[in-house]
Amino acid sequence: MAFVTTTDLIPLIPELILLGAAFVVLLLDLFAPGSQRTTLAVTTIVGFVIALVAEIQLLDSGATGFYGTIVADGFSILFESLYLVIGILTVLLSLHYLDDHGIGFGEYYVLLITAVVGMMFMTSSLELLVIFIGLEIMSISSYILVGIRRRVPESNEAALKYLLLGAFSTGFLLYGISLLYGATGSIRIPEIVVALQEPGALNNPLAIIGVALIIIAMGFKVAVVPFHMWTPDVYSGAPTPVTAFLSAAAKAAGFAMFVRVLLTGIPLEAELWKDLFWAIAVLTMTVGNVMALMQNSVKRMLAYSSVAHAGYIMVAVVVGTPAALSSVIFYSCAYAVMGTGAFGILTVRHFGKTPDSYDDLAGYARYKPCLAFLMSVFMLSLIGLPLTGGFIGKLQIFQAALEEGWVWLTVIGLLNSALSVYYYLRVVVCLYMREGSVPDGAVLEVAESPGFALTGLVGAASVVVYLGVFPQTLLELAASSVSTLF
C-alpha cells in the first residue's frame, strides 16, 4: 500500500521546489565556500521564482492531497504567492545588509526559505496538526533569523524574547487545540465544523475555552493588543531585513491562519466573538498608533505602526463578511509590500551607518534623493493617501464595515488613521527638511545604494502605486479566493 501517491504531492509542488532550493543553497554553502554570496542570494531568488510559477500553475487546479488535509485553493495560492514575493524582496534587501554587518552565513537564506515553507503549510492545510507544525517551522526559523547577529546584544535579546514568548503562546495554542479536540473529537477543520454545528455544541465550555485560547495564541502571532508586547522589541532588535520579513510575511501568514481557522472554520456565536474582536481591534489600532507616536527610533515606530495596521485588519475581521475577508487579503498584501519597503529603506547605510533614529534620516533628500522619494511613497501609502495601495486597502476595509453598519468602528479607525499622520509625516519631514551633515570620519558611499536593494525597493514602490491606481486585479483575485473558502 503506497501511503503517499503522486496526486497527493501536487498541491505541495511549490513547497517541494522551495525545499529543493534550500538544499541547493545549503550544499553550495557547504561544498563551495568560495562561492560568492551573490550566488546564494540568486539561487534563493530563483527558487522563489520557480515556486511562484508553480503557484500560478496551480491556480484553478483545486488540487487536494493527504486525505484532504492539504488544499491548493485560491485563498492559499494567493497568500503563498504573497509570501514568495516578500521572500524575494527580503533576499534583495538582505545581500548588502549581510555584508555590512558581517553576517556570513549561507544558512540565512536557508532559514528564510524554510520560514516561507512553514507559512505555506500554515496556510494550505486544513489539519490543526499540520498548521501547528507549519507555524512552528516558521517561528523557529524566525527566532534564529532574529538572533543571527549573535555578537550583538540587542539581537540576542530580541531572539530570546521572541522565543520565550513565542513558546509561551504555543503552550496556549496547544492547550486550545487539545480542548477543541476534546470537544469535537477531531483536529481537522471540516470535521470540527461539522461537530460544532450540532445543537448546543457551542455552549460546551471545552469548545469555548478551546477557541478562546486559540484566538489568544493567534492574536500573539499577528500581534494584536494585548498580545503585541513582543513586537517592538523583536522588530527593533532583529536585523532589519528580517524585521521587514516578519512584519510583512509572518503577519500575513498569521492572518491567513486566523481567517482559515477561526472565521471560516469554526462557527463562532456571532455576538460574543464580534464584541471580543471589536474590543481587540479598537485597542490594537489605538495602542499601536499612540505608541508609535512616542518613538524616536524609526524602526521601532514602524514596529508599533505594524501593530496599528494589524488593528485595521482586525476591523475587517470583526465585520467578517466575504467582502470584509477579501479586504483582509487586500490589506495584508498592500501592507506587506509597503511595510517591507519602509523597513527596506532602513537597511541601506547612510553616512556610514544603518539609520535608526529620526535624526539619522537627515540629509537623505540631498545625498540619497532616490531613497528619500521611495520612502515618501511608502510613508504616504502607510498614511493611506489616495493613489497608493494603502488608501484602497483602508477604503475596502471601512467600506465593508459601513455596509454592515459598523459606523463607530469606522469612525475610530478613521481617527486612528488621522493620528498616524503625525508620525509618518515626521519621517518625510526628516527626509526632506533636515539638512544632514556628513559626520567626521564617515565615508560617503560612492554608489547611491546597492543595486539589489534598489531593485527591490523600486519594485515595491511600483507595486504600491500600481495597487492604488489599478487595484481591480487584486481585488478580483481576493474576492474569488474568499469564495473558495466557503
Binding site: L129, F132, I144, E157, L174, L179, G182
Partner: protein, 100 residues
Amino acid sequence: MIPISHVLVLSALLFSIGVLGVMLRRNVIVVFMSIELMLNAVNLSFVGFARTMDDMTGVIFIFFIIVVAAAEAVVGLSIILSIYRTRKTLNIDEFNLLKW
C-alpha cells in the same frame, strides 16, 4: 477507570504552575523549563481526551508536541548560550536593552 475530569483538573493545575513559573522565575532557563511544564500539561490533556473518546489522534499529536518541544529547546538553549556569552548573566530582569 480514571475520571477524565480529574485528568483535566490535573492538567489545568500543571498548566497554571507553568504559566506562573514563566512570570515569576528570574533565571531564564527555569523560565524555559516552566514552558516545558506547560507543554506537558497539554500532553496530559491530550492523552486524557484520547482515552475518553477512544481515539488515537490525541496520542499521535503528543509525539509531534514532543518533537517541537525538543526543537524549541535546542534553539532556545543555544540562544541562551549566546546571550550568556555577551551578557554574562541568566537573570531575565537584566535583558532589557530593548524597551519603550
